[in-house]
């Protein structure tokens, strides 16, 4: 049954993630081959996220490089007991991509960019997609279980890099309402998706 397959993360994914944590631990000792393994296993996910946020490929490549450079610098501070390697990397990637969005574009450019992205990217992503991950399918399914306003607020934050204040302006809702939507929506998602690691 499809639903079952979506809910239970296959054992093989867990095994891969264990290896990723070990890669970072070895990279922390300066092992560049271990870091290359980490790159090979994660670069498509990191690039997928960064490109989704930035849209522009050249910028996405620059930011992806920054993400791995930061991961290399910070490798000694990664604690495998406290979280999954992929979560650690994707959090770096998200913060970096959002930084870039906010720093490099005027508001007007950004609105135009988001407009272009909303129409152009789905086609792009279908053609370029290397792999549709189970996790992404689960997340999409989970997002559909949220209320429309909750989903909209979370997507504007996570994929468009808007601040909560900008989201409030965009959707024409009071800031307090947007905060509540973000919080209730995220808590609900956590309930549906469970905790990583």
């Amino acid at each position: 049954m499809t639903a079952l397959a979506l809910v239970a993360p296959p054992a093989i994914l867990r095994r891969v993630e264990t290896t990723l944590e070990q890669c970072i631990v070895r990279a922390a000792d300066g092992d560049q081959r271990a870091f290359a393994q980490l790159y090979d296993a994660t670069s498509s996910r990191v690039f997928g996220l960064v490109l989704r946020i930035l849209v522009d490929r050249a910028q996405a490549e620059e930011v992806a490089q920054e993400v791995y450079l930061e991961a290399w610098r910070q490798a000694k501070r990664f604690d495998p007991d406290r979280g999954a390697a992929i979560s650690w990397l994707l959090q770096i990637a998200h913060a970096r991509a959002v930084d870039r969005v906010r720093a490099s574009q005027s508001q007007r450019d950004r609105d135009a960019r988001i407009g272009v992205r909303d129409t152009a990217v789905p086609i792009d992503m279908v053609s370029e997609q290397a792999e549709i991950s189970l996790e992404a399918a689960r997340a999409r399914k989970a997002l559909r279980e949220l209320s429309d306003p909750q989903r909209e607020a979370i997507e504007l934050a996570y994929f468009d890099g808007l601040t909560q204040t900008e989201i409030a302006e965009r959707v024409g809702a009071p800031l307090g309402t947007v905060k509540t939507r973000l919080r209730d929506g995220m808590v609900r998602l956590r309930g549906i998706l469970g905790v990583t690691a």
Binding site: S43, S87, S133, E135
Partner: protein, 280 residues
């Protein structure tokens, strides 16, 4: 929980989504309760599940990354940061202000040594934008609490120097002041330090990420340096972790902030070359 605390803790989900303005983020990192930090860390993990589908980067990126790391030093392990939440990392941004290195005899004079300026890690935004970003991002570096203090999952670590709520609040007030400015510098031991100051409040703080302990029998001492020479702004310790030091005394316009290594107990005037000097 009072209303102010709740209004800060309510930012946990937005923090986890990187959906706070720099100002709000600084407030959350400085002032959120341990529970709110733990929630932010968990929700940040949840958020990564949204990351979506994989798209292969161009093959050239691999070579470029591996070439870059071969030349990039790694930051030292940080026991305190490891004990805290590992994912909130310093997003190192170059400072637009030029930090200067001055010799003891030139205290108050201020000869400029641009070699202390942190090199940019990439191209990108111009100086003004970099400065705007540099004002806040390094706060994420303050990732752990020094030994003995409560662990704050998900973000900030305030050091032992910040004993008591009023010091914490004072630090939070400086970093989130509307006119706060900051400069990041590389320390002689390779760690990074961020000096943040608010002219309006007349206060400044230094956020250290990875500064190693002062040699046996010595301590770090901060100074405000103006035309009259250096004035002590208190002593502090470091232990390789993330720590923040709020300087004693008042910052006056045009003063520089400096740090030297002094004999235990501190000195009336600097006796060694400064390891950090930043002009405000």
């Amino acid at each position: 929980m009072n209303g102010d605390q709740r209004s800060i803790d309510d930012l946990a989900a937005a923090y986890a989504l990187d959906a706070l303005s720099a100002d709000e983020r600084a407030r959350f990192e400085a002032l959120a309760s341990p529970e709110a930090r733990a929630e932010a860390a968990e929700l940040a993990d949840t958020a990564t599940l949204l990351a979506g589908d994989s798209i292969a980067p161009p093959p050239t990126l691999r070579a470029s990354v591996l070439d870059a790391i071969a030349r990039e030093p790694q930051l030292p392990a940080d026991a305190a940061a490891e004990a805290a939440e590992p994912a909130r990392l310093p997003s190192v941004q170059p400072a637009a202000l030029t930090p200067v290195s001055i010799e003891p005899e030139s205290f108050g004079g201020g000869s400029v040594d641009p070699s202390r300026t942190r090199r940019p890690t990439s191209g990108g935004p111009g100086p003004a934008e970099r400065r705007a970003r540099a004002r806040w991002r390094p706060l994420r570096a303050v990732g752990a609490v020094a030994a003995g203090a409560a662990l704050l999952l998900g973000g900030v670590a305030l050091g032992t120097q910040l004993g008591g709520d009023s010091r914490q609040e004072a630090l939070g007030a400086v970093v989130s002041a509307a006119d706060a400015e900051r400069t990041e510098v590389e320390m002689p031991d390779g760690s990074t330090a961020t000096v943040v100051w608010s002219a309006e409040r007349g206060q400044s703080a230094i956020l250290f990420d990875g500064l190693s302990a002062a040699p046996e029998g010595s301590t770090y001492q901060a100074w405000y340096i103006d035309a009259d020479g250096p004035q002590s702004a208190g002593t502090f310790e470091a232990g390789g972790g993330a720590t923040a030091f709020l300087l004693d005394g008042a910052l006056t316009a045009g003063s520089a902030v400096g740090v030297t290594v002094e004999p235990d107990g501190g000195s009336d005037a600097p006796t060694t070359d400064p390891i950090l000097v930043v002009e405000t």
